[in-house]
Amino acid sequence: MGLMPAIKKVTSEIVVLLLIFGFSADYYFEVSALPSRTINLLLIQPVFMVIAISTIALIFIMVRDALRSSATSVSVQSSPTKDVVAAALSDSSAGPVDPHFIKNGIAFGVCTLAYVLLLDRLGFISSSLLYLSILIYLLGGRSFWLTVVLPIAVVGFLYVTMSILLKFPLPQGFLI
């Protein structure tokens, strides 16, 4: 395998590294341009150097390992999903992997984003009830208890605890 295919194999890892490095570099140059440069850069300069050197070294090692592994053996091709699954399994617990992971992941992400955006527009009670019911349904909960009773109980508990007992003003929108 040549250099480019080897780099392709670790592209996503390199992209993440470059994003972290890019943000750090942008931050470093922003601070460099500030008045009292010496004081502002006291810590940031060495820390940025650590990131820069480590990024270069890590990219070099990743490409080298990719080249080596392709040269020595026919490795099993991994996919991002497999990587996530493997990482999760090696994490701390090892239950069976849900085959609907990607669908569930998208459902969770979209529902959560929508909930956060609607929270202060619709109001806490209505948006939270919708969020819980829809999310539980999309994740596979079908019973009346799970999709209706549980959300009402949880949202009711949170409302009573936060808003009435602890006097936290929860977001209020045009609904409740």
Partner: protein, 507 residues
């Protein structure tokens, strides 16, 4: 020496019914969530963090530390019953606990775990009360250069945490940069991207909840039940109270094992980055060496459970001592606990001990009382354990998500904090996917402002910045020695890795 007047004042504060209630609730919440695989102790603390905002400081801190204590024990329940530890620190408990379950002695193993956890926790708490004044006295002699070095030592933990040093270094350094965002002492604004909400820095609580809690939900999404079908096997004879009590009583026939394991736990728990997992592994190995039943370790030997659990729970005392006296989080759980202190306007460190001795003695004494409570609530939850570990993710994930979002909002009543939490959640998912250690970023976030401030004070005090500032101060020199020692394992690992690599290429 222990200040008995402050100690007594602290104990008196615990007489408040609200504090007692919070201890009970914290322990129960910690044990129950700890028993659910995937619901790690840091996650449990982070979910409850915002709830403590409106509480009195003592009730709030005691609530969180009791979740910590409960979670340390709770994670052993699923390790024993289904061989899936609730948190990594219970992995070793499963080595003998699960074989005992397979032999039909699961409840006996739980009895051993409850008793040894409570004893470990108690010894850890006593150690904490005794050692704190000494550590504080030591820390009070520190000036800015020493405080800077303490922060650096805290960061070197990162090196020992992860198989890839480079990834850990990048994550830690990036965390430090994030920690310096906001208004500087020189009056400049750094990295706020125009958001005035970031002038005070990246809000720590939303960042912690996003990185630790919310990102973990994506891992949970991969499973229908975190515990899986193995949980149903755990129900065999689950309500055998006699067996539970037998294990409980027999634990106290091993006083030396309990003492040795707890001592190991306390000492290792006090090392930054080591934590309960390392403590239980070392204690288990030592236990196998000393026990006359050493050959039976791994095959359902009760002493194995005692060694692992006592050390795991005692490590909490060491970790709290480090966190309270120097403000260094030894691990994820103590990092989130620092967030709990900050929510109450308290900064862990030697000054806190001087300014609020009664409060701190109250927190430490609460751990002693929590140990006795753990005996009762541990048995109670163990009795119904098989039902708890079977909570499906379809229920767990939406509930944790809702609590995290509402909790994040409740801290400052700002939707901006919720957006920050989601940004850090996304960042956490990426870090987990590519195997970067989350604790490194969190340590950086917490230690970044400390390092920045102390380095600036060092510079201003000396008018320059050079190594001689650190070499000319005896305490700094000592800390530099500790720093070198803490980097030694990394150096050895790098050299070994290099040699191994060379052998592979040559071969």
């Amino acid at each position: 020496m222990v200040e008995f007047s402050s100690l007594w004042a602290g104990i008196t504060l615990l007489g408040d019914w609200q504090v007692i209630l919070m201890m009970v609730l914290g322990l129960l919440f910690g044990i129950i969530t700890g028993a659910i695989p995937g619901f790690s102790t840091p996650l449990a603390i982070s979910v409850m963090l915002p709830v403590t905002f409106s509480m009195e400081p003592l009730a709030a801190i005691v609530f969180l530390t009791c979740i910590y204590a409960g979670g340390n024990f709770g994670s052993s329940i699923s390790a024993i019953l289904i061989n899936i530890p609730g948190s990594p620190q219970a992995i070793v408990t499963g080595l003998d606990g699960y074989p005992m379950t397979r032999q039909g002695r699961g409840n006996e193993a739980l009895g051993f775990a409850v008793a040894s956890s409570a004893v470990g926790n108690l010894i850890g708490a006593i150690f904490l009360i005794l050692i704190m004044p000494l550590l504080v006295k030591f820390a009070l002699s520190f000036g800015p250069p020493e405080l800077f070095l303490v922060g650096v030592i805290g960061l070197t933990v990162i090196a020992s945490l992860h198989k890839s040093f480079l990834k850990a270094a990048i994550a830690g350094a990036f965390g430090v940069l994030l920690g310096t965002i906001g208004m500087t002492a020189a009056g400049s604004t750094r990295g706020t991207l125009g958001f005035y909400e970031l002038l005070d820095g990246v809000p720590l609580i939303p960042a912690l909840i996003g990185l630790i809690g919310f990102s973990e939900l994506f891992l949970m999404l991969q499973r229908t039940y975190v515990a899986g079908s193995a949980a149903s096997n755990a129900s065999q004879g689950r309500q055998d109270l006699t067996q539970l009590l037998r294990g409980f009583k027999q634990t106290f026939r091993h006083p030396f094992t309990l003492l040795r394991a707890s001592t190991i736990g306390v000492l290792i728990g006090g090392l930054p980055g080591a934590g309960g997992t390392v403590a239980s592994v070392v204690s288990y190995n030592e236990g196998r060496r000393y026990s006359k039943n050493g050959a039976n370790f791994g095959n359902g030997e009760p002493e194995g459970v005692i060694n692992a659990e006592a050390a795991n729970n005692a490590s909490e005392g060491g970790a709290l001592a480090l966190m309270l006296s120097l403000g260094i989080p030894g691990g994820l759980a103590t990092a989130v606990l620092i967030g709990g202190f900050m929510l109450q306007g308290l900064i862990p460190g030697p000054r806190l001990f001087l300014d609020n001795p009664a409060l701190l003695y109250g927190v430490m004494s609460a751990q002693v009382f929590a140990s006795f409570m753990l005996l009762f609530f541990g048995l109670l939850v163990s009795f119904y354990a098989a039902k708890i570990i079977q909570v499906p993710t379809v229920v767990l994930i939406p509930l944790i998500a809702l609590f995290s979002i509402v909790g994040t909002y409740a801290v400052k009543l700002l939707m901006f904090d919720v957006y920050i939490m989601l940004v850090f959640a996304a960042f956490g998912i990426v870090l987990r996917k590519f195997d970067y250690p989350l604790i490194a970023v969190i340590l950086g976030l917490i230690l970044g402002p400390i390092l920045d401030g102390q380095l600036m004070r060092t510079f201003q005090g000396a008018g320059e910045l050079s190594l001689s500032i650190f070499l000319n101060r005896p305490m700094s020199l000592l800390l530099l020695g500790i720093l070198a020692l803490s980097l030694l394992p990394l150096m050895i690992r790098l050299v070994r890795g290099h040699l191994k690599n060379k052998e592979t290429v040559d071969g």
